[in-house]
Amino acid sequence: MRFALLVAWREYAENAKTKGFWLGILLVPVIIFFSVQVPLWLEMKGTPTRYFVLVDQSGLVGPVITARVERDYQREVWRALKEYARKYGGSNTGEAPSLDQFINQGGQDAWLAELTPGLRPDAPPFKAPRRAFELVALPSGVNPEAQLPALAQELKPYLRGESHTELHGQDIALNVAILVPRDLAKQIVRSPGATTPTGIEYWSDNLADSRLREAVEETVNTEIRRREYLARGLDAAAVRAVEQTHVPVSSLNPRKESGREAVGAADIIKQWAPSAFVYLLWVAIFAIAQMLLSNIIEEKSNRIIEVLLSSVTPGELMLGKLLGIAAVGLTMVGAWILTLFAVLGWKTAGAVGTAVVTGPILDVLQSSRLLPMFGVYFVLGYLLYAACILALGSVCNTLKEAQSYMAVITMIMMVPLLTLTFIPKDPNGLLARVLSWIPLYTPFIMMNRAMADPPWIDLIGTLLLLLAAVAGALWMAGKVFRIGILRTGQPPKLLEMLRWLRR
């Protein structure tokens, strides 16, 4: 055992020095970090404030559009303040106001003034979110009364970024122009099929960001319909009341305790979190399986193996390798999971607005059995594949030779990846259950089913089968390894290897 540990220690120390190991350690956390951070950046910094001009020659919809944009902005401020109050509010944080209360009671300044006395001493000053859209005045010299084609022609250089206008003394590029024609009332479409008039002109070179366009469309149409109701003699208050009626649709999960069946963000995360772990499991096992292979081949092709075998038994050598490389893998996976927790924890505690997503993820990870299952399946899955790799590596003389066989193992390993997204959709379905009982796939598929309460027979049965498979594979690998490791020349035929097992 002492010698196996010496071998393991060398494997660990040498592999821990390789670039691949550090790339593996660093790359995955970097990916995790960016996959959490980038969408936020894109939201906060990536899309800068977009400046728009609004020319309403009809005089019908201008105010509702500006009101809508303002209300959307106030909702952002309200959300940010709610988060701020939750985090730093301290003692006298009462019930948060509704959005309407917030706006009617004086908005940001009023609520902040109310919050300030009770704020925790370490609270940073509140930073209001940036406006997504900001209305600016028409560039000087542009005539708002001109015909729309002429007006558009005048605005085009600004929209193309060739000319700049000014806001608060700073040069800014104009992103959007909303031009409402004088005869808007005549351009209302009342029956389907009639020729569609141009209506309101929305000028922008950015087709991807449709938020403002949708807001304009929705607001204007609501306003137009409201005017229609009034024109037909309906009561404005009644119309408003009718507009607010709606029936909610709730998602419920039959697997949850009664009374708590409501499906929330956490449930959706729970459904998909296992897939993330399957992916992590796959990457980890694949990476260290490769490491193990190139490692054995190096010893074999360099004939170092012979010196080793004059000092340790093949059993000790194999055990040492398994342990050493497992330790490398665990270090790597451990670093990944720690980073994941660190990033999630930091995001949940830190920046405003992100806790909505990261909080539930963290809760799910901490409360569920995902992590212990990941640990168990990582170790067992690793051992099973490592046994195959050890046997394979011991009979090949060069990495090139081994790689053609490795391709087969890679192909076998592709199945869990291909089913990665199918399994969570039907976690206890036939496909999932059948694949679970194939030891090579058990770790991946059962991991993917982890949050779907698979039947106990599946959970325990597949685990026992996997354990048996690991024991069997290690036994066979030991036999093949013992003989194969000293062989040179052509890799043996399968039949020949089967004969080795009987020795």
């Binding site: 010698f3 010496l6 071998v7 060398r10 040498e14 020095k17 390789t18 190096e298 010893e299 092709s301 360099n302 004939r303 170092i304 012979e306 010196v307 080793l308 075998l309 004059s310 000092s311 340790v312 038994t313 000293l486």
Partner: protein
Amino acid sequence: MAGPQLVNAKATTGAAPLEVRGVTKLFGGFRAVDDVSFQLPAGAIYGFLGPNGAGKTTTIRMILEIIKPTSGSITVLGASSALQVRQRIGYLPEEKGLYKKMKNWAVIAYFATLKGLSRAAAKRRAFELLERYGLKDFATKPTEALSKGMGQKVQMLASIAHDPEFVILDEPFSGLDPVNQQVMEDIIRDMAGRGRTILFSTHVMQHAERLCDRILLLAKGRKIFDGTVAEAQRTLPRRVRIETADNIAPLTELPEVAAVRPLPPTSDDREGPVAAWEVELRGAADPQAVLQACFVRGIRLRSFNQSEPTLHEVFMRLVGPEAREVAAR
């Protein structure tokens, strides 16, 4: 022609470091080693000779218990398995290789720890050896930075870092330049001087001739010869080289002479070309008898050289195309 008398190793006092008894190894139907027996006296330098495919490496692997013999038994340092005494054995395999990315001191230290040295002692020893054999500057460089010969030296150091009692070296000289061959010879002599037993295989007869106390000759898996270098030389008839312008026919009639063969004529001198002859003697005949016969029969000699056959000649004779199997026991 009298069959040379081959003497088996005399019983040595104390436990022999290695005893190989009737060992046979079959690979499928192929007899790689066929009923080989020999014994190593303690403190000896033992040469393991034989052409390619003679079964040297297979025998060495069996001694080290890397592979198991099909039949027969091996006792190493008093143990029935080399694994029980592996910490007292050093081994340099035929095909040399090192971990490419590992530092030189670390490789030596690693193999030393596998032989039971503590980590600290192994490290100290590694630096000490590298310094002693002129590789100090490479101690903290990866092994891939070494030339082939230097790499081989490092591997040699790695195999003896734990100061083993019994060292097995498979082709230690192959691939080394003359300077490093000398270094290798010095290492071997130094170990033998400290009472270590060394078994090394080689193709190069000069090394064996210079270093070995005893040699074992294998061919096609079977033992051909086992004994001292002098004994090996005695397996070939003694020869005398003479140069004369006279007729040497009378010599062939001597009872001591087995054959007379012409050699290419040598130096021209004032009296014109002089013929050279090789006179092969019978059995234990004394070369002096030839000299006396020449004198008696008036054959004027330009030169008379009495030479012992080289190990190379012995080797060629014993395992060459016309090789005869000499009674091994």
